[in-house]
Amino acid sequence: MVALAAPATPVASATERLLSARRLSKSFGGVRAVCEVDFDLQRGEIRALIGPNGAGKTTFVSLLCGRIRANAGTVEFCGDDITALPVHRRVRRGIAYTFQITSIFPNLTVLENVAIAAQNRFRADHFDARSEFDPGATLRRVGLEDAALRRAGALAYGHQRLLEAAMGLALNPRLLIFDEPTQGLSDGEIQRFCDLVVEANRSATILLIEHNMPVVMALAQRITVFDRGSVLAEGTPRDIQRNAAVQTAYLGA
């Protein structure tokens, strides 16, 4: 199914840290969704975030991209403390998030969806994003160029997921966060998506929440395992596969 040579790039050195979270916490009422998490991303890597349902993965990345405010802890991005920045300021610094539940502009055309995403590049706080934008090229990257003038809401589900990814790519981000991108996709679409992630990784660091293990194993250079709001384990795919605690969390004691 997922026929991809695992990227063999060695993990970048610690000096090239793109993002780091320290003691990041979030509670909803009495429920501690994310609890004092320390987390680092190296520039240029593809990182997978896995864990059982309800482990706090989506909440955690929402704290990173600013969709949810943390109760405690800090987030640093490219050496700057962004903990206090609202979501749109973080996006302008180069953090893009694609939603778990498809979130597009259904009544606008596919092209307009991408154009709306891209026009903000001119305000980006990181200058490498302020390049000329070619919406056609972005749509070609995800294979939607023939659907450019169709209403986005009329696309098939898999194509809407690709459009969602295209909107993330159109921001030309430094960090691209995918939240369960392959959910509900066919095998062929999953393959296409994996190619897309590898291609996007040439210009962006990727953080991927994913349940599909073949996809995770094919793409990720490192894996972080979440369980009950904390990091249970972190390492290469091989390490994680052999980790006893991970097997317990996934398969039950």
Partner: protein, 332 residues
Amino acid sequence: MTENAAAKPGANTNPAAGLKTAALYAAVIAALFLLQFALPEYHRLSVTRIMILAVFAIGYNVLFGYTGLLSLGHAMFFGAGLYAAGLSAYHLGWSVPLAFAAGVAAGALLALLVGCVALRTTGVSFMIVTLMFAQVAYLATLYFTGYTRGDEGLVLPQSSRSFYFFGALVDLTDPATRYNLSLLLLGIALAVVHRLVRSRSGRAMLAIRENEPRAQMLGYNTFAVKLQALVISGALSATAGAAYALLFAYIGSSFTTIQYSIDALLYTLLGGPGTLLGPVFGAFLMFYLVDIASQYTSAYLLVTGCALILLVLYFPAGIVGTIKRRWLPWLP
């Protein structure tokens, strides 16, 4: 907002559609211009009023149709324009152009202040908050009755019935002058909103209407975009209010009642929210519906109510909106 660069190519750059819309605007404006020679006096005055009300609805549509925010208090912006223009002409003796400018500025300023508070809410709360602000505005016109004469209102003095424009005397008591000034304002309002919805700010407004969390996640400061939309909307509504005061030389509290807020909403809904010509058609239709029905029965609201139900059933996106959706997708 810092929207200096021209809109990027991409969306809405179909040249044929651009040409068709330009032709359509020209046809509408030309038709309205020619109409004045065919209409009897009574209807010429009605159409003059309708065109001003259409400007109000176009302003309302910027917020409701394009940004997706339903306000129930737009009478306060219409009223701000009406009173700022009327009071400055009446009490301070300001010339017509100056009073008009004061009206537009008052509407924009009021929208800015109200927006800073009201835009912290969305949906039903936003409707209630705008309704409350509008009620405060209405009560203020009654409270300061020493200046406004409340319900009874003020008739503007003869001195503000004419002005010089580059040396030429413009007489506002002349029906033809009033008609063409209204038409001019309508044309300007259409052009302004046409430009706006094709600009980057306009596209950001559409993005918020369609999916606000997504717009935020694409780096838009959605509060700032919504505030911008409200200020433009308020300024256009106040333009209509100021024109109404100065063209018809009367200001009174009745123009700031909820009735006027609802009218703006109805014109827009009827014509088609988020279409450029929808509010114009809506204003015409609604005005004449009430006008004709009231000639035959005192229960004219019942007739208009039934007509509205039929329209909602068969034209759910408004008249222009439904035509656009079903047959003519290039319509502005």
